[in-house]
Amino acid sequence: MDNANPTVYAAASEQAGRSAEDLAMEADPNARDPIDSLEVFDLIRHIKDPEHPHTLEQLRVAQLQLISVDDSRSRVFVHFSPTIPHCSMATLIGLSIRVKLLRTLPTRFKIDVNITPGTHASEAAVNKQLNDKERVAAALENENLLSVVNKCLAGVDQHEQ
């Protein structure tokens, strides 16, 4: 295990960060409701770290302020911060985030998942691999790897039910 004793932070409540107006629009089934960063955060916050019983939110690997969304241009940018700069799980965490978003966001979205600048020793190499669609597609046809990813995502899906 890379980081045997990570700092665990409290998770925010589900609707924190939304104004009353936002909440009303979210609740109105007739309103055109653009995807925003909070929604993207909600999709990934409960992903489990591959090595710890904690979520990406609790470890602050995923953070709301590291997500930006341009709904009109259908772009989602997610940064994530591995707990330590030599985390060997960085690629797997990034892949789990990407898979979750590919499975849940409308297909019109272009998704870029990258390591937060300065938080990992192999930042460029991991980013390149995570954003190579061919490698991601091939990885997801590998049943062993897919089951590991699905394990990371299991908590998220439970949470959604």
Binding site: R108, K110, E134
Partner: protein
């Protein structure tokens, strides 16, 4: 120049279509993708002008266990080669429109990503994630490994042959293009040069009509024209920021001096670029000449110009030429080049 959609071919179960390849006569288009099948598209009826009449004429199944990444026709149309994430390449023989899988080429350690036939028809190249480029020697239905090259330091994405010489180009995740050939009188293949200039993965590489030029497309969103000067190819022209996102594919049509390159991107668009090779009076140039936004509802993974009938191959005009595209939306589309500016896409499906 702009593109006008003339046909939308649906059949890959809405799964990603990775690659398309025209038979040398332009009569049949093969497509392959995530659904692990190869589809062969042709037209019935002879109404060339309306673009309609395209339909799926055959589906090749059970050749591969995983995604089929790339397909390529032999120059005599007798064979179709395919390669897959399952680590193998297959060769299908076509006799009277019936396809039989006659060979399975095993050698790569994992995903095979590119396959291409040499103009002679007796050599087949494959490349893959194991960083290797294989050259297979074909004698009828028997394929022997003629060479294995490990020049690249990463995943090899694409292989392409010179139009009439035994020169092979490969492009890679290591941001470079490598060229391979045999010394005269020597059977040993070797890497003869490395073309560096792109700053990220080179997804696609192809030769121009007579092989004097090489075109490459990259994740760095640029297209580079490399020209042969003396024995070596070097950068002759570059077009940056052609697309908003990675460029996955390009295809050349034209004469020895100038032509059009179509390119497809992760920004869902197809671009058209005018290419002029260098002449005694003018340097080589690349000039953007058209953009078809939202060509697919998803990444454009492959574009391929339809070969011109033999009696029209010297035609100077680019108008009327047909380019096919394949996308993440599971569609294969056919487009015709027409004069004018691009307008909003009106899809046929």
């Amino acid at each position: 120049m702009r593109l006008e959609e003339v046909a939308a071919l649906q059949g890959h179960e809405e799964l990603r279509v990775w690659h398309i390849a025209w038979s040398p006569s332009g009569a049949t288009l093969a497509s392959c993708g995530e659904d692990k099948t190869i589809r062969l598209w042709g037209r019935h009826g002879a109404t060339e002008q309306d673009g309609g009449g395209w339909c799926c004429q055959a589906v090749l199944e059970e050749g591969h266990q995983r995604t089929i990444r790339c397909v390529a026709w032999s120059p005599d149309t007798r064979f179709l080669a395919s390669c897959s994430f399952d680590g193998t390449a297959s060769v299908w023989e076509c006799i009277e429109n019936e396809f039989d899988c006659v060979a399975s080429l095993e050698g790569h350690e994992n995903e095979v990503k590119g396959v291409a036939w040499a103009a002679s028809g007796s050599l087949l190249a494959t490349c893959g994630r194991d960083k290797a480029v294989f050259i297979w020697e074909a004698e009828d239905e028997n394929f022997e490994v003629a060479a294995v090259m490990h020049s690249h330091t990463q995943d090899v994405k694409c292989v392409a042959w010179h139009p009439h010489e035994d020169i092979l180009a490969s492009s890679s995740y290591d941001d470079t293009i490598r060229l391979y050939s045999r010394a005269p009188g020597d059977d040993d293949w070797r890497c003869t040069s490395t073309l560096s200039g792109h700053t990220s993965t080179v997804w696609c590489v192809c030769f121009t009509a007579d092989g004097r030029g090489i075109l490459s497309a990259s994740d760095d969103r640029s297209i580079i024209l490399w020209e042969k000067q003396g024995e070596l190819y070097s950068e002759a022209a570059r077009l940056s920021e052609v697309h908003e996102r990675a460029i996955y594919t390009l295809s050349w049509t034209g004469s020895t001096a100038h032509g059009l390159v179509a390119a497809g991107s992760s920004d869902d668009a197809i671009s058209i670029t005018q290419v002029a090779l260098s002449s005694t009076n003018n340097p080589a140039s690349l000039r953007k000449d058209g953009m078809q936004p939202s060509a697919h509802q998803g990444d454009v993974n492959c574009v391929a110009w339809r070969p011109l009938p033999e009696d029209q191959q010297d035609a100077a005009s680019m108008v009327g030429r047909v380019v096919a595209s394949a996308g993440d939306d599971g569609m294969v589309r056919l487009w015709r080049c027409v004069e004018g500016e691009a307008s909003d896409t009106m899809h046929l499906d």
